[in-house]
């Protein structure tokens, strides 16, 4: 089906190339919007589109002024600092709690497993606007609205489903007899966990943690409601920037963030390969 044979009919040859062309167009649709902002972020003028100078590859058409603005403007720097303060704490919370729960859920006898799973996954299913509204009302009542910890707790709750899902998936391939072997050799449960189970499921834990990190780092809706101006994060600043005063600095920020996601993607890919190699799933 996939290969082109010497005996293929002209129609088959035409379809073979036609299909690849269609796929190429879809790939362009997927990737072009992300790539197009990178050159635009070096625009020397304050436009959101390619200027004549840029198309002529004139060096005067390009500049780093939007990056300069991002790194010197106090609004953007505060937002960046807030994002950097909130996301790791939320990640830490959701990864620690999520990993423990995933280990618990993967035991063979768990009462009410279905109901518990549904409750723990719910932050992923409920639309963000509903979560945001509920948290806004509830956190105002208990005095968490507009505080650093309010945002951290909210983001941690949103990130846990991803940790649970990835760690549970890793635990499926985990050989339980290793735990028993460790116990039979005299290791206590904590030691067994630290020395045997944890190193084996670590790739799953790290990729779950990355998911939780991205969830928090990329989150706007909840922080808009639960946070106050002093918790303004990078996505929040971008959102207001896009809605009110469109400035090309956003494109520079976007480029920086694309670079960060490329780094994340690479890390995850390395982890996935490592995990597959450990479990003997792929020859590589």
């Amino acid at each position: 089906m996939s290969g082109l044979q010497p005996y293929s009919s002209p129609a088959q040859v035409a379809w073979y190339y036609g299909f690849r062309l269609i796929c190429a167009l879809i790939f362009i649709f997927l990737i072009l919007p992300i790539l197009v902002i990178i050159p635009l972020s070096f625009n020397a003028s304050d436009f959101f589109t390619f200027t004549k100078e840029m198309l002529a590859l004139d060096p005067d058409g390009y500049s780093l002024k939007h990056y300069n603005d991002f790194f010197t403007n106090s609004d953007w720097q505060t937002a960046l600092a807030n994002s950097v303060r909130i996301a790791p704490m939320a990640t830490l919370l959701s990864t620690a709690l999520g990993t423990l729960a995933a280990i618990g859920l993967s035991q063979s006898h768990v009462p009410f497993r279905g109901a518990i799973m549904a409750a723990l996954i719910s932050p992923m299913i409920v639309p963000l606007i509903i979560s945001a509204a509920g948290m806004y009302f509830f956190y105002s009542r208990i005095g968490l609205q507009g505080t650093y910890w309010g945002v951290v707790l909210a983001h941690a709750a949103l990130g846990t489903p991803f940790v649970i899902i990835t760690v549970t998936a890793t635990l499926v391939g985990f050989d339980r007899s290793l735990v028993r072997a460790a116990a039979s050799l005299g290791a206590n449960p904590v030691r067994t966990f630290v020395k045997v189970q944890m190193p084996l499921i670590l790739p799953g834990v790290i990729s779950g943690g990355l998911f939780a990190f991205v969830t928090s780092f990329d989150e706007v809706v909840v922080v808009l409601f639960v946070g106050s101006a002093s918790q303004k994060t990078l996505p929040w600043q971008m959102f207001t920037g896009l809605r009110e005063q469109i400035s090309p600095t956003i494109l520079a920020v976007a480029t920086v963030m694309v670079t960060v996601s490329i780094l994340l993607l690479t890390t995850l890919e390395i982890l996935r390969r490592r995990s597959e190699r450990i479990r003997g799933l792929s020859p590589g």
């Binding site: 390619f50 639309p127 509830f138 899902i165 896009l242």
Partner: protein
């Protein structure tokens, strides 16, 4: 099994009674205890997170859902009036008598002192426009009222106090709970004989709900149409090539939502890249630039792009499991390419389509950010209306009721998703 005496040397114990564990307790008891301990350990591991989610997430959601029926403000602000109104029959066609006005004067006096009468006014204003100013005006002047019959004095402040409609509203919303917000969220109101649909040109929420479902369906179908060929190609290419191409799917997946939305703004706006290219190529005149943003087109295009990876990844993982020998077998039995695909390969991918479609639909229907930024007025979703009621119009009850409607819709599809794929089988990143 209980026959331990088969081994003669160990046969000191007579073969009677239940089998014992090493410490002398019956094995059954010991096993049950071990099982109980195991369950307890599993629950202990889960408990911290469960508690955390209940406090930080489920309680807020429940709290918000409760707001959609809560109506304490009327009985709390006007306790005496509510009691006095019980005697009044709205069908009589006359405003209530002196007793009610006397209670109203007492209630308003306290409320005006605490400055909460305006809040009540704006609450009742959602139901009958005009009440807000009535309460504000009367609250200001209630202090100066003289002893004696209060009804004429209230009527002097504003003739509307003699209006049956005003009193009907107050009586209707005098309970601690109300279905009024839910009626409003599906464009209904209390009419002369019970709930009825609003006039056709005032039905904004049903229109909005219908548009949300319609646009989400269009987005889901576009995702299937664009995702299927790509997933098929990825699943049938050699691993080395498909791993490289997979990056083109995963990079958008990992890129920030706001980055992707801003790039669509850059592409779609009137002075944007697409319009500029079309003008340069001479396909459209400079005056005839296309309206690609601030309407449905913008929402559909941008959201299809954002949600496409959620369709490709489940499809890919299903297609990966389909053995190529099925199609080869079909062909060897005389099927042509199309028949082999349509009768053999495609039916095998239906679970993948189902999984991807439900996932994309669930995500699409609750979207807020992208429609807000590129949707204008005709491309917004019900989420945007909820946000509007929370942060701008402050009609929180209605926002909560709309949230319940949206949540119910999502839960139906979530249940479907659980039936088709199972929540445990969700996977990300291939």
């Amino acid at each position: 099994m209980t026959d331990t005496t088969a081994n003669g040397a160990a046969g000191s114990q007579p073969d009677s009674g239940p089998m014992l564990a090493a410490d002398g307790t019956p094995l059954k008891v010991s096993l049950a205890r071990a099982l109980r301990r195991q369950k307890l350990r599993a629950l202990m591991l889960i408990a911290p997170l469960l508690l955390f989610i209940v406090i930080t997430f489920l309680a807020p959601i429940g709290d918000m859902l409760f707001r959609s029926v809560e109506n304490n403000i009327v009985p709390e602000t006007l306790p005496r009036t509510v009691v006095a109104l019980e005697q009044w029959d709205p069908e009589s066609g006359e405003a209530p008598g002196e007793a009610v006005f006397e209670a109203l004067q007492a209630d308003l006096l306290i409320a005006a002192e605490k400055k909460i009468h305006t809040r009540l006014g704006s609450r009742l204003n959602y139901e009958t426009p005009g009440i807000s100013s009535l309460f504000r005006k009367s609250g200001r002047r209630v202090d100066d009222m003289e002893q004696g019959p209060y009804k004429p004095q209230f009527l002097k402040i504003d003739e509307d106090w003699g209006d049956v409609e005003i009193w009907r509203t107050i009586k209707r919303y005098s309970g601690a709970y109300t279905a009024g917000y839910f009626l409003a969220s599906v464009d209904m109101e209390y009419g002369a004989d019970g709930p009825q649909l609003k006039p056709e040109d005032e039905r904004i929420y049903l229109t909005l709900l219908w548009r949300t479902i319609l646009l989400s369906t269009v987005i889901t179908v576009s995702c299937i149409l664009l995702g299927y060929p790509v997933a098929f190609l990825l699943a049938n290419l050699p691993l080395r090539t498909s791993n490289v191409l997979m990056i083109l799917v995963l990079l958008p997946f990992w890129t920030s939502l706001l980055v992707r939305t801003s790039s669509w703004i850059v592409l779609l706006q009137q002075q944007g890249v697409i319009n500029d290219t079309l003008v340069t190529l001479g396909l459209v005149g400079d005056g005839g630039r296309l309206e690609l943003m601030h309407n449905e087109v913008g929402t559909i295009v941008a959201m299809t792009h954002i949600l496409l990876p959620f369709m490709i990844l489940p499809l890919y993982s299903v297609m990966k499991t389909i053995s190529p020998s099925y199609v080869r077998a079909a062909k060897s039995l005389g099927a042509n390419d199309w028949t082999a695909f349509w009768r053999i390969y495609f039916p095998n991918t239906v679970p993948g389509i189902g999984a991807g479609a439900v996932l994309v639909f669930i995500l699409a229907i609750g979207y807020y950010i992208t429609p807000e930024l590129v949707g204008g007025t005709s491309g917004i979703f019900i989420s945007n209306r909820i946000a509007y009621h929370i942060s701008s119009s402050l009609n929180w009850g209605l926002a909560a009721a709309l949230g319940v409607v949206l949540l119910a819709l999502i839960l139906v599809f979530y249940w479907l998703y659980d039936r088709i794929v199972g929540v445990d089988n969700v996977k990300f990143g291939g």
